[in-house]
């Protein structure tokens, strides 16, 4: 078991180094100059040359990469943004990663229960109206682009806030963990908790549509397989209620693929829901990194690549460990 874990951790580390190095090199190969965003229409060749030299951007890419990995390994410091003066990237990530995680958690709290419930309903009433309804909904959910759904939600729920984590006029709130729903409770600001919750509703709803639909479809097919199995028939035969058969016998056995896909979806959402963050001005990580790519801000893109790789790798690791716990066959092999 511990050998397995060590091996997985080693794989995870290698994956991260490879991913970060590829992004590092790609950023430097595409045309663009990170100083252009700073100087705009007032470039000064003399100053720009000097800064490029000081930052070492005139050195070979591989030696820059070596320096970056060394700095990261020894100090854990990502450095400062290029396009914005003295913006410490780690400080900014410390705000943006929680914003993204909070949005993801709320979205998945909608997506997992509703998706699983819809999938079970579809499987139990196979080929009848609940099945058709749920699967049509799931088809719609995966195919409607998130930005379009976001715009529709904004238009329908006219009373709901459509941007920011809190209203702009709230200027006395000092976050501790940067998870606003948690921080407002910790500080006993129950009024702000309600406001923060309202602010997260529409973006979370928009973000949940795709994972919810995917989970519903996977749940349905996985449940159908299990519901046809012998032990389910046995369960029915011994007189267990349908509810008990489905929830107690069938669902745990159908859970592995659901956990797998849900874990993967969490990884996708955590690595930045760019579209949702853009439509609802949610100050999350995806938007941060995408804006940085546009401005050729190497430092932010590198740091973002590192964090996204770390999130993906650990989400996968957690899913694999859950698998071990859920499926004895994997555990024993």
């Amino acid at each position: 078991m511990s050998g397995y874990l060590l091996r997985r951790l080693f794989h995870a580390a290698v994956t991260m180094v490879v991913a970060v190095s590829l992004i590092f090199i790609a950023m430097r190969l595409v045309p663009g100059n990170p100083l252009l965003a700073r100087f705009g229409q007032h470039p000064d060749a003399e100053q720009m040359q000097r800064i490029i030299h000081e930052q070492g951007w005139d050195q070979p890419i591989l030696s820059q990469l070596g320096r970056f990995l060394h700095q990261l390994a020894t100090t854990g410091d990502f450095g400062e943004s290029i396009s914005r003066s003295h913006e410490k990237v780690s400080d900014e990530l410390a705000r943006r990663v929680p914003a993204t995680i909070e949005l993801t958690v709320v979205a998945m709290m909608l997506a997992i229960p509703l998706g699983v419930a819809a999938g079970i309903a579809a499987a139990v009433w196979r080929n009848r109206w609940p099945d058709r309804l749920c699967m049509a909904g799931a088809m719609l959910g995966v195919s409607v682009p998130v930005f379009f759904l976001g715009i529709c939600l904004r238009a329908v729920f006219t009373g709901m806030p459509i941007g920011f984590r809190l209203p702009a006029f709230v200027i006395d709130f000092e976050p501790i963990t940067e998870f606003y729903l948690l921080d407002t409770l910790l500080q006993k600001r129950f009024d702000l908790f309600g406001t923060a919750f309202k602010h997260i509703c529409l973006p979370a709803l928009a973000l949940s549509s795709i994972p919810m639909s995917i989970i519903a479809r996977i749940t349905r097919s996985s449940m159908l397989e299990v519901l046809g199995a012998d032990f389910v028939r046995t369960g029915r035969a011994k007189g267990a209620s349908t509810w008990r058969v489905v929830m107690r016998h069938a669902l745990p056995n159908a859970a592995a693929p659901i956990v797998n896909i849900a874990g993967f979806q969490i990884g996708v959402l955590l690595s930045g829901a760019v579209l949702t963050e853009t439509v609802f001005d949610w100050p999350g990580m995806g938007k941060y990194v995408v804006d940085a790519v546009r401005e050729s801000d190497y430092v932010i893109v590198q740091a973002g690549a590192f964090v996204i790789a770390a999130i993906f790798v650990s989400a996968n690791l957690v899913v694999d460990l859950l698998y071990l716990w859920l499926d004895p066959r994997v555990r024993h092999s």
Binding site: P31, G32, N33, L35, L36, A37, R38, F39, G40, Q41, H42, P43, D44, A45, Q47, M48, R50, I51, E54, S83, R84, S85, H86, E87, E92, R95, I151, R154, T158, P161, I162, G163, F164, R165, P167, A168, F169, V170, I171, L185, F190, D191, L192, F193, G194, T195, F197, K198, T278, V279, F280, D281, P283, K287, Y288, R294, E295, S296
Partner: protein, 525 residues
């Protein structure tokens, strides 16, 4: 069991959250929605319009641009005089002014502020990227004659020196704060302006509070909160719903729509900017003046204003905007005349041995700029106009930074670009955009226009201190430039914003200086 209890707790919390009322809105706080966040709060490192917008309210300069014109007024300096040779400028400072941290404003603070802007390796310039540093090269030395008198020694006489001191990079900063905070100053600024800094959460919220002791008097708003809302559609909805009080940088058609809303006001003001078509004059076929003139004849500026600006712009004849001092009113624009254009092009084709239709690239930025809110529509319009006279354009859109970089490299044929005034002086348009000194990888003479006669005139204009004689010089230069047609000026835009009708005295300035000290809510005493 445990899960059920947990579910109850969560449900309870949600109920508490939803039942408690939203926090009441403070009545005298302005919420300002804008397209992007500030990049820094240190004036020496600023460049973008959104960054400058905040700085104008945090800092004062020695002299300032007037409320609605480019006239120079006293600010931290009350009076000033120039020596006979124009090399020595003496400023008397306003007595009793203090920075937001209580440090008194004296000659040393002024010297400290300007030196960190202009000197190489200044130890207090924590970020070396100072886009406006070249504008202050003319300063040789700054000294204090007494605590309230500053003396600037220049390397050569400069007609734009005073205007440059009124620009935001020359904002006077608290030396105490800079020395204490080091690079932290860029996120904890201390100036003397009408508003003082309160807090900044990057890309979420930037809060300024009224400076009760400002020498002009306290501003009306208690606070101003700047919030970046990248999508203009979101900004519009938030404005309509009252989540923000003002939104700017909106598309022209949306502004027309918002102007119909009775609870909103859409002020309009000319801007000292110009959108123009630059042509790479070093390479054939655009090295032939007839081809450039033919392109000018093919563009119907009136139609362009309808299509690209929803009518909210003025046709431009020169690079200098009409509203600006030094504009040559006597030059009559080339008419829209496709027939004449075709003939001119045919003549050039016969002499140079190229075939019609010509195929050329049209470089354009993919994001809006203040002088060009809809660059791609304008590119399409230019393409259609030139197709009618025998030039086929391929539109080549690029993100702004890359677009300007390639144009400066001279790596284009025809390109859309523009300029907004920095200091309100003709030099800032004609020398920056058309002088041969500014040809190069980071020079703004993207047309690579070389005319020794124009060069001599522009240099003379920089050194001449007599305004009447400068006017003659700049008129002459504009005449020569018009004949050579290295660029085709298209329009000067009208700037607009939309704000709640409760807000009064929000003043748009021709140089797009957003200064909020006079703005107020009408229902707040």
């Amino acid at each position: 069991m445990l899960t059920r209890r947990l579910a109850l707790i969560i449900a309870g919390l949600l109920l508490v959250g939803c039942a408690s009322r939203a926090p009441s809105k403070p009545g005298n706080t302005l919420i300002y929605g804008r397209g992007e966040d500030s990049k820094t709060l240190d004036p020496i490192n600023a460049e973008t319009g959104e960054t400058v917008k905040v700085l104008l309210n945090l800092y004062d300069t020695l002299v300032a641009f007037a409320d609605e014109t480019m006239e120079i007024e006293p600010s931290l300096a009350t009076t000033w005089e120039t020596s006979e040779d124009g090399l020595t400028w003496t400023f008397d400072l306003r007595a009793g002014v203090r920075f937001h941290d209580g440090t008194p404003v004296d000659a040393d603070a002024v010297i400290f502020s300007i030196d960190r802007l202009r000197q190489d390796n200044n130890p207090h310039a924590s970020d070396p990227a100072r886009p406006y540093k070249p504008s202050y090269r003319v300063i040789d030395e700054i000294t204090a004659a007494d605590p309230l008198t500053v003396v600037f020694k220049l390397r050569e006489p400069s007609a734009v020196f005073l205007n440059n001191l009124a620009m935001f990079p020359a904002g006077i900063v608290s030396p105490t704060a800079v020395k204490k905070l080091g690079k932290g100053f860029s996120t904890n600024p201390v100036g003397t302006g009408p508003f003082r800094f309160e807090r900044w959460i990057r890309s979420q919220q930037l809060v300024l509070a009224a400076n009760d002791d400002h020498w002009r008097g306290r501003p009306h708003f208690d606070r101003v909160v700047f919030v970046p809302v990248a999508e203009s559609a979101t900004r519009i909805q938030q404005l309509v719903r009252g989540e923000i009080h003002i939104a700017d940088n909106l598309p022209p058609a949306a502004l027309d729509e918002l102007a119909k809303n009775p609870s909103l006001t859409v002020p309009e003001e000319i801007s000292m900017n110009v959108a123009y078509l630059a042509m790479q004059t070093e390479k054939p076929p655009l090295d032939d003046v007839r081809v450039r003139q033919a392109i000018a004849l093919a563009i119907d500026k009136k139609a362009l204003i309808r299509v690209g600006y929803a009518g909210h712009a003025e046709a431009a004849v020169n690079l200098l905007p009409k509203a600006m001092w030094g504009h040559h009113d006597g030059i009559k624009d080339r008419p829209f005349d496709p027939e004449a254009s075709r003939k001119l092009l045919q003549a050039a084709a016969n002499d140079n041995g190229f075939q019609l239709p010509l195929t050329l690239g049209l470089a354009v930025m993919s994001e809006p700029r203040p002088y060009m809110e809809q660059p791609l529509q304008i590119a399409a319009f230019v393409k259609d106009s030139l197709a009618a006279v025998g030039i086929n354009l391929t539109i080549e859109p690029k993100p702004s930074d890359l677009h300007f970089a390639r144009m400066m490299r001279g790596d284009f044929q025809i390109g859309l670009t523009g300029w907004t005034t920095d200091n309100g002086d003709p030099d800032n348009f004609l020398y920056s955009l058309l002088d041969l000194d500014n040809i190069g990888d980071s020079g703004n003479n993207v047309s690579r226009y070389r005319n020794e006669e124009v060069h001599d005139l522009l240099l003379a204009g920089q050194r001449e201190l007599d305004q009447d004689r400068r006017l003659v010089i700049y008129h002459q230069a504009q005449g020569l430039i018009f004949a050579d047609a290295p660029v085709i000026p298209l329009v000067s835009t009208k700037q607009r914003a939309a704000h709640t009708s409760r807000m009064k005295d929000y003043r748009l300035h021709p140089a797009m200086l957003i200064r909020l000290r006079q703005a107020r809510f009408e229902d707040v005493p």
